[in-house]
């Protein structure tokens, strides 16, 4: 596991100047090992009529993409040219391999689908059984008048059918799928298709707040876009799955004048949501005491005194 972790190269898809990640393993990997949670932007196929939970792809902002590239944990792929070249110049063997992959996924989908169906059927039959039992007791109580109702479930629910239905379902999981056509699938990533050399783009040019972002990330903080709180980042002491944000961070230039009103504004905004306002800048002259690239970061925190 550690070896693969060290070697893993995250593919960051550059699409029209934006940075996306499509592979869920990559997403989890950068979340676990690089402290980057990024932002889910896609529609969830399981539940496509809501905006609360979103799905793949994940969008990285330029700082995050640059951080990963600088750490040599990722490369940036020019998605359009890669796809177009692969799609237009595809030969039989690569196509065959890709189709084989798709077919395998279709088989898997079919298996999952069949299992699900068997489960649902079993559940329904369980319900029917209970219902028929109740009906039978009712029928026995009420006598001949309720007989037709008591009969109807038995049409669908002879005990032999359950065995028949359950039998093929369990066998399909191990052997051939049932004779229905395989369902079509849309794979999430093109990894099976793009086997050739990927045209790699240069690292992104991040915003001026990159140094602050890098500093926070190196200290184990997670960040999410802080725009809703009026800052550059909201800073979490760990994975946002588990923790509330502690800070609202803004980046400044080393010699930049910070208006008192800015401090008040951001401080008020942060305090209103129980975060302290944090600001930092990178020194152009002093080197980083930790030996990293770039200059020393100085970071301050402003808290509201309740006087």
């Amino acid at each position: 596991m550690p070896a693969t972790v060290a070697e893993r190269q995250v593919r960051i898809s550059c699409v029209a100047g934006r940075y996306l990640v499509f592979d869920i393993d990559d997403v989890l990997y950068i979340r676990r090992h690089h402290g980057i949670c990024a932002v889910l932007t896609g529609t969830m196929p399981q539940n496509p009529t809501q905006n609360l939970f979103l799905g793949l792809p994940v969008e990285l902002h330029a700082e995050e993409a640059k951080l990963l590239v600088d750490r040599k944990a990722a490369y940036i792929a020019d998605e359009l040219s890669d796809h177009l070249s692969q799609l237009t110049t595809m030969d039989e063997t690569t196509r065959g391999a890709y189709l084989q992959h798709v077919k395998q996924q279709r088989r898997n989908a079919k298996l999952a689908f069949d299992e699900e169906k068997a489960k649902v059927q079993a559940m329904h039959q369980g319900k029917r059984k209970a219902a028929s039992k109740a009906n039978k007791t009712a029928a026995s109580l009420e006598g001949a008048s309720a007989a037709p109702e008591g009969e109807s479930p038995s049409l669908f629910d002879p005990p032999t059918t359950t065995g028949v239905v359950a039998g093929p379902a369990t066998t399909t999981t191990t052997t051939t799928p049932s004779k229905e056509a395989l369902p079509a699938i849309t794979p999430t990533t093109s990894s099976a298709l793009l086997s050739g050399a990927t045209p790699v783009l240069d690292g992104p040019i991040p915003a001026s707040s990159y140094s602050l972002y890098k500093y926070l990330n190196s200290r184990g903080y997670y960040t999410t876009p802080g725009l809703r709180f009026g800052g550059d980042y909201s800073v979490y002491p760990g994975d946002p799955f588990r923790y509330h944000a502690h800070y609202l961070a803004n980046s400044y230039g080393w010699d930049e004048q910070i208006g008192m009103l800015d401090v008040v504004t951001s401080g008020r905004l942060g305090t209103a949501v129980k975060k302290s306002f944090l600001f930092g800048a990178e020194s152009p002259s002093k080197p980083d005491p930790d030996g990293g690239e770039g200059g020393e970061m100085r970071v301050f925190c402003v808290e509201w005194a309740g006087m």
Partner: protein, 554 residues
């Protein structure tokens, strides 16, 4: 109306049982006690509470996994900790959350079900590249089906259409367009073609199987003349496929399925690229579609009709006032605003107080057409049963998509041009002259447009969650609510509406007593709110400096 927070179904109701936070800053963050919080703010779940929620990035996917079929409303967030305390319980909970996210997101889109319901899209990016859309079609969209006379179809954006749809009657009900007027021997005649955002949205929600063609369009969709034999053969093939899997070898003869990643690569582009949609526009589009709105691209602006004298829409009290006001432009550079003297009616006093020219909304504005990014990109309709892609009423919202990082708050010129590109939408007729409806009128304005501010990476905002409201009081009152991906009401109040309102209020309540209180103190208040906000241009005729605060008493 889902844009109002009060009505948004996603707004959590007063159920603060699992709220760990309060807006009260004295409750220290180190003690996230649910009981105290619930006691403190039982039914005061305001914007701040929502802001407190850390957003969708922190949504706990465990809840999604547990309850896959439930609506968003019932999904609540789990408890959170203040900081790491190194316990295994905490680590386990985190790991569970991550695993749940992985499991939920690892889902592969499966197109199961009866063959006839499956929608398949073929990417033909160059097919319509040379198509010239009839000029007469332009501009019909804003009239929609409401236009009298011969019915015209909305503008088709045929050149932009890159995906041809095969099957899938459900998908093509609200999306796509068939290009009519094609010769009989053209291939794929009568098929629906999708815009890139439509195709990508369908792929993403798992409703479309996007294929890359290996053969030309002529072979996949043979023209009708040759169809008799070909389709028969094809149908036979499909039938055979359903019978047994032997025909599968031919299944990929014409093309093969593409991945979601490939769909993004092929359909997302920069603004202005033919057959592409920019990522921010797509995100706004899909966000609205997920909410259930009907969204169509706005047709390009019609050519300016020859300048006609702008006729006032209705002759109301306001017009009458307008005439009075414009006829009295004379003001002394100093001295009391209302000249001392005999006033036989309020009208003469109001006339003297009129510092600003009255805005007269005109149906044919003269400002130049709007430029990107402040231009109308989408027309949005609320979900309605009778809406169809070809026949629909005028849109409920006109939407502009703006990148938050690349553009600033629109200048007055941009905002005016944007607003003038929308049709005049005055408030209801019965509101006019009704004092009780003043605020409704003020809020409604004469024209309205939605601005979707898309933050490159801040997509987790939900509709109501971010209540960052930028209010500019100005000649146009822009109320930018930075929402989800993020839709924004840009509400216009022409300043003179406010003046109207003031007059009306004064009339209705007779609070305007010249002798006792001094008109100018009222007037001053009025003008500091209005005059200051509307910038320099509007108060020019008053003179320089502080023209307003002149009271008869000093």
């Amino acid at each position: 109306m889902p844009l109002d927070d009060d009505d948004n179904p996603a707004l959590p109701g007063p159920q603060p049982t699992n709220k760990t936070t309060t807006t009260n800053t004295t409750t220290t963050t180190t003690t996230p006690g649910p009981s105290t919080a619930a006691a403190a703010v039982p039914d005061d779940l305001t914007a701040e509470d929502l802001i407190e929620d850390e957003g969708a990035a922190a949504q706990d996917f465990r809840l999604f996994r547990k309850t896959p079929g439930v609506s968003a409303q019932t999904i609540r967030k789990g408890e959170k900790d203040f900081e790491s305390h190194g316990t295994r319980a905490q680590a386990d909970a985190l790991e569970q959350s991550r695993a749940a996210m992985g499991e939920v997101l690892a889902y592969t889109r499966v197109h199961a079900g009866p063959q006839r319901n499956l929608a398949r899209g073929w990417v033909f990016q160059g097919w319509w590249a040379g198509f010239g859309e009839g000029e007469e079609e332009v501009g019909a969209g804003d009239g929609g089906g409401a236009g009298a006379g011969r019915e015209r179809k909305p503008y088709g954006f045929v050149r932009e259409r890159v995906v041809v749809l095969e099957g899938g009657s459900v998908a093509s009900m609200n999306l796509g367009r068939a290009v009519t007027g094609q010769a009989k021997d053209r291939p794929a005649r009568g098929k629906d073609w999708l815009l890139p955002e439509e195709a990508l949205y369908l792929v993403e929600r798992g409703s479309l199987d996007l294929w890359w063609p290996l053969k030309g369009l002529e072979e996949i969709f043979p023209p009708e003349t040759a169809a008799a034999t070909a389709t028969a053969g094809k149908e036979g093939g499909e039938g055979a496929k359903e019978e047994d899997g032997a025909a599968e070898a031919d299944e990929y003869e014409l093309g093969f399925p593409l991945s979601l990643q490939a769909a993004y690569a092929l359909l997302i582009g920069n603004d202005g690229e033919r057959g592409k949609v920019s990522l921010q526009k797509f995100q706004v589009y899909s966000n609205l579609k997920r909410c259930g709105y009907n969204v169509l691209r706005a047709p390009p602006a019609p050519k300016q009709p020859p300048a006609t004298p702008s006729t006032p829409i209705t002759t109301t009290l306001w017009q009458w006032f307008a005439n009075l006001l414009t006829s009295n432009p004379h003001h002394q550079p100093y001295g009391p605003l209302v000249q001392p003297g005999l006033h036989r009616s309020y009208a003469s006093i109001y006339r003297q107080m009129a510092l600003l020219p009255l805005h007269q909304p005109s149906a044919t504005p003269s400002s130049p057409p709007p430029k990107d990014p402040f231009a109308i990109h989408y027309h949005v309709w609320k979900a309605a049963q009778k809406w169809t892609k070809l026949r629909h009423p005028p849109p409920d919202f006109q939407l502009a998509v703006v990148d938050a990082q690349e553009s600033a708050v629109p200048t007055l010129e941009e905002a005016t041009a944007l607003l003038d590109a929308t049709p005049l939408a005055p408030g209801r007729a019965e509101w006019a002259g009704h004092p009780g409806r003043m605020y409704a009128r003020l809020k409604h304005g004469h024209r309205h447009v939605l601005v979707a501010v898309s933050f490159a990476e801040v997509y987790e905002y939900s509709w109501l969650r971010s209540k960052d409201t930028v209010k500019l009081v100005g000649a146009a009152n822009l109320q930018l609510q930075l929402l989800g991906s993020s839709c924004v009401t840009l509400d216009t109040l022409h300043h003179t509406d406010a003046v109207d309102g003031m007059f009306q209020m004064a009339q209705a309540e007779s609070i305007w007593d010249v002798e006792k209180t001094g008109v100018c103190s009222h007037n001053a208040r009025r003008n500091t709110t209005i005059g200051k906000a509307s910038g320099q241009s509007e108060v020019d005729n008053v003179g320089e400096g502080e023209p307003i605060l002149r009271s008869p008493h000093n």
